[in-house]
Symmetry: C2
Subunit: 710 residues, 2 copies
């Protein structure tokens, strides 16, 4: 991974020569059907590509009707792109020859690299190095290739050319691409560009994300990702892209079992799911939970406007599915639109008396196309409606096909989001293709249709979020740098408790002083300064459960009790664990009770510092009520992190309790984020508990642990 991350941001921006080559070479082109070199050349020719095509093959002088060249040097022009299908062992040399010729882009379809073991790994490294040296940027190896349907050009060995459309696809799995192509044909949606990344050895997901975010032919980007090569760059590219168009990401390998499969499959390091989740959230990408959702969201976002608000209207010819859709609206946080008087009057005048006029509008089991027309027209023109779902079940009297045609006609004049849910198979097949060809997605199950709407509305909310500016606090960055340097030189990774507090202090984070006293006198002097009551805790690397060995005394009220407690702890610990190496006795002033949070930071291998906040105390383990964000954390990020917690209600105050000092916690989150960004040496930190007081009362960090290096 280290290798990938250091390389992938080199080499400059992807230019039009890649997706729109004026001419291209097919190196390893073949005359034998069944060979990949045949399929790729056939696809290029069959796709209607208008530029020059130069097959290269040591044997034969004509391939699939085109003049063929024995080597790259012999091609009469300098092609923009080379599609490479020679065996893995020959790829590095081929890339060098491409470079010598002046070719700037290569697509390495050949397999047998990193995914095939040590020798393959070496070949891959060699290939990329030669490309870098000679100025050839490479897609792959071990990929399906790419398709640009607007040129058009199918430079892949996928069996199908996709319908032209506006969805851009970036996938780390070639198989996902082939399945997408199949569904696209079936469901009348299409792609602008489709890229199979393969091993992603040179050109990465971020390169294509950058390109597609500026591509006028693309209005939605969808990605299938297992691991990214450079988390930071990916995060930045994602943020930029979502400013222009929605990006939907399906991330696989999120769980332990899945992560194992990733490493045995492509060797890519699967990023921690929490970091991805945070990256998507902060970059306002939409995360799909399944392949199904990826497909449904892509085709809905590409052809329909996103809903301006959460108010959904439902037309149905059957009560049950209407109820199912209503349930789903409530679950998904959408609302059932209340209809205007005008709408109700029209529906009442034109629908039979038994119809249900209120949303969901039930046009009854014997509804004709006319009844649907009335309902759809009325609801689409109601100002209180942001989106419409049209449910149709194929009943005895249903005019399935005519209804579809009418819906298409009416929808042409509307700016509102429209999704159909024609339920069934053969009976609705033709009608479904009618609506889908007109860009109205059909989602077979009404509850899923609502879920799609809800995700589209999420995009709408994301677009409304104001950009959030980072706050830079005045801190003593140098002091912390020097302190960590001392640890680094000493080869120590655990920062001592006093130094942890120095670090917090340098970043303006309030905390409760702590001293590891090595004798009673030190403890007494500390207590005199801090004031009573104090707590004592044994400090020993061998003692993890301090309470179990009698190593903790709380609420010590005065000097005489302190002396007694000190001696007691020492004698109890010596008795229980005579072999323990005792570093001293920690002493700290008792702090008033408040609401306990936990606040932490960890270094994600792909995305860098990840900041966490959650409900503290014993509840953190039972409820895992925590929120994560990548650093740097903006004021808006900090605020949203807290809102995400279920425990937020406890911070706001329940049962007449005063609210907690939420503003102070938001500030600590940002200060910790600044600390994490400023100090790359810091690899982990836990503040637990962070004791938070009532509004205006601030907080204090009671206990803190830091690890550096690692």
């Amino acid at each position: 991974m280290a290798g990938r991350s250091s390389r992938s941001s080199d080499g400059g921006k992807l230019e039009s020569g890649f997706f729109e080559p004026r001419s291209l070479a097919v190196i390893g082109a073949s005359s034998h059907p069944g060979k990949v070199g045949y399929a790729v050349l056939e696809n290029i020719l069959y796709s209607g590509y208008g530029g020059g095509v130069y097959p290269v093959n040591p044997k034969g002088r004509k391939i699939q009707g085109l003049p063929s060249y024995p080597d790259i040097a012999g091609i009469p022009k300098v092609p923009d792109l080379a599609v490479i299908i020679v065996p893995a062992a020959g790829v590095p040399e081929t890339v060098t020859e491409c470079a010598a010729k002046g070719i700037r882009y290569g697509v390495v379809i050949s397999a047998g690299f990193r995914e095939a073991g040590i020798e393959g790994r070496r070949l891959e490294k060699d290939t990329v190095q030669r490309g870098r040296k000679g100025g050839v940027r490479l897609l792959g190896p071990n990929c399906l290739g790419f398709i640009n349907s607007s040129l058009p050009l199918n430079a892949s060995f996928a069996r199908l050319m996709p319908p032209k459309g506006s969805i851009g696809v970036i996938s780390q799995s070639g198989a996902i691409c082939t399945s997408l192509l199949d569904w696209a044909r079936d469901q009348s949606f299409g792609f602008s560009k489709l890229v199979s990344l393969g091993n992603g050895a040179d050109l990465s997901e971020s390169d294509f994300l950058d390109y597609l975010s500026g591509d006028d032919e693309t209005n939605v980007i969808i990605m299938y990702v297992e691991g990214v090569s450079d988390g930071g760059r990916f995060f930045r590219s994602l943020k930029r892209a979502t400013r222009h168009k929605p990006v939907v990401i399906l991330k696989a390998g999120i769980t332990q079992a899945g992560a194992q499969a990733v490493s045995s499959h492509t060797g890519a390091l699967a990023g921690s799911d929490k970091a991805y989740e945070a990256a998507c959230e902060q970059a306002t990408a939409l995360r799909a939970d399944s392949v199904e959702e990826l497909v449904e969201l892509a085709r809905s976002l590409t052809s329909q406007r996103i809903p301006k608000g959460p108010r959904v209207a439902i037309v149905t010819n059957a009560g049950g599915p209407g109820i199912i859709a209503s349930d789903a609206c409530e679950k998904a946080g959408l609302t059932l639109a209340g209809l205007s008087q005008r709408s109700l009057a029209r529906l009442s005048a034109e629908l039979p008396p038994a119809s249900s006029l209120h949303n969901p509008v039930d046009v009854l089991g014997d509804a004709t196309a006319e009844r649907y027309t009335v309902a759809v027209e009325t609801l689409l023109s109601d100002r209180g409606v942001d989106a419409l779902i049209v449910i149709l079940t194929p009943q005895a009297m249903t005019e399935v096909d005519r209804t579809a045609e009418e819906i298409v006609k009416i929808s042409a004049g509307s700016h509102k989001t429209l999704i159909c849910s024609f339920m069934g198979a053969e009976s609705v097949e033709k009608a479904v293709s009618v609506v889908e060809s007109a860009g109205i997605p059909n989602v077979e199950f009404p509850d899923r249709a609502v879920q799609v709407l809800a995700r589209m509305y999420e995009r709408s909310l994301q677009k409304e979020m104001p950009p959030s500016k980072l706050v830079r606090f005045e801190v003593d960055k140098e002091r912390v740098k020097q302190l960590f340097e001392v640890y680094r030189k000493a080869g120590q990774i655990q920062v001592g408790p006093e130094d942890c507090r120095t670090v917090l202090g340098a970043y303006g984070i309030k905390n409760t002083p702590f001293l590891v006293a090595t004798d009673y006198d030190q403890a007494r002097d500390f207590a005199k300064k801090s004031g009573y009551p104090v707590a004592l805790k044994i400090v020993s690397p061998q003692i993890l459960h301090k309470t179990d060995v009698g190593g903790v005394v709380l609420g010590i009220k005065d000097e005489s009790s302190l002396e007694e407690a000190y001696e007691e702890i020492m004698s109890r610990v010596r008795r229980h664990m005579p072999s323990a190496e005792i570093e001293g006795v920690g002493i700290q002033k008792m702090v008033p009770e408040g609401r306990e949070l936990i606040l932490g930071m960890t270094e994600d291998p792909q995305f860098g510092p990840l900041i966490m906040v959650g409900l503290g105390g014993i509840y953190v383990e039972a409820f895992q009520d925590v929120a994560f964000r990548l650093a740097p954390v903006s004021p808006a990020d900090a605020s949203r992190m807290l809102c995400e917690l279920k425990a937020f209600r406890l911070l706001e105050g329940v049962r007449g309790e005063e609210p907690a000092d939420v503003a102070a916690v938001e500030e600590v989150l940002q200060r910790v984020s600044q600390l994490a960004v400023d100090q790359p040496e810091l690899s982990e930190m836990d503040i637990n508990p962070l004791m938070v007081y009532n509004s205006g009362g601030g907080y204090t960090c009671v206990d803190v642990r830091m690890t550096i290096g690692g």
Copy 2:
């Protein structure tokens, strides 16, 4: 609802005359295509029904080639069943005529009853009453009819006759039936019986559940339910049915928005979702979350064995989908099977070196049917594998159809659960129909395939659960009856705090005594008896937030402090709320700190007493970590309720804490359940907090409220 629930359990068991009539009358049969009376008769004839068919219509002497009769009396035989399609206004009289003829079953397809307003409601009541009186049991009105595909008989106006199969369908929505019929044809599954309940005025979901659970032609029952007519009976029928076969339920109208739609649609009262959830859980029914899941589960359960264990093997020709499936296994609580040495040896010998042999087994993008054969054979015969998912993506070299055929051949000899996930549309269409015709469900998306397996495995776990016997505790039932009677006579619904404790005491539930003292002397005497420290709380119907007016003093240590506190409370309350009507000052002994739970009981209108337990204190509101069960609660129910709580970990003890007295809490749950069952007057109860102590230390109910009648 009251009307329905009192009626629906009358009338005895549904007999074979309904589903297997020797002959039937079609009352309102028509010669005019387009009329429902035409469609129904046509369906009956077209379905291949072998019994006598007697069309009845005042006009005409021949209908669709059959001799027709002007009235029911004129039919030469006594048919077992009448299908009624006359206008609503004529239905009551028709039922009376059926009764006079001796017909025992009717299917009222006609609409215009309860769903159409007051007059319809009257007609419906009249219809049912006449049926009861004359001994005619009725399906509907306002329904699609029913289908018995094994007879065969299509006594419905659904357009399609379903393929014969073993799924029994009971649906409160006719439209769901028609969509199911459509999907069944498309996906090669079939139905044994299909019943559209319509308004369910007489024969209810429970009647058909009882019938289908004893029906040999049915091996899975699926239900679409909006509201049930008699919760208690439904619960009992469901429990009986799941002993014989899996029952999958899709319940709509679960949320507030959905519930509104229910009442505007069929007038049925939507049951509280918590009660349904508990009923399904306790009756070991499988609850589907969506129409999609209902369909997928039905077809998987009907044709495949349920997995014996959680160990899933995956074969795939593409890494990405394999990872997606692995992720889904972990999320769903299934495990990736570890393969035996023998399996690994065979895979290693017969698959190409680049294949991934460990689960998921990746047979690579260019996998032939042979490679799939090797992998599928090996995994199905591995003893460590309980279920297999075969993923196929249509890549350039994939032998899609042959692979399907080979899988069908191999699977014929296997007893393990097998699900295919052929991803795509046209490219895999034929192959999908090959596997599905052989009873292997194809679930297009691998993550959904895993979810289906997980639900099937749930059934496996349910079957293993030992039956749990109820415990009857020795209690003083009569005392509580008498006490509630006093309240009932006085027209009071809130039970006073002392009486609440008497009730708990009578049921052997430990609690902390509480007295509403009307003067200081009473308080002092109480404290002397109970012992110090005590707490005082003002008792006034006008004061909800006692703390805000200074109406609470805790930790009163002795008599002199008690007097002071008593006076203070009275004077503060008089100052803050001079108009409040003060009933007295509540006094209670302070109890030691423990783990706080909340335990409650509420009366569900459809299912009766519902028992709740959850994490108490301020957390109950933020986390809503609560579990519900219908009374009576068995020891196993009580234990599972607690395990369901996220807070269960806190009861077990985290961070070296001792475990709480879980056994005692389980007992309280059962005692509360017995109280709720014994005392139908009790309509609501809250014990909050239930203070639970460490293992062996028991518990005490600190505060308790009860409402009766209501």
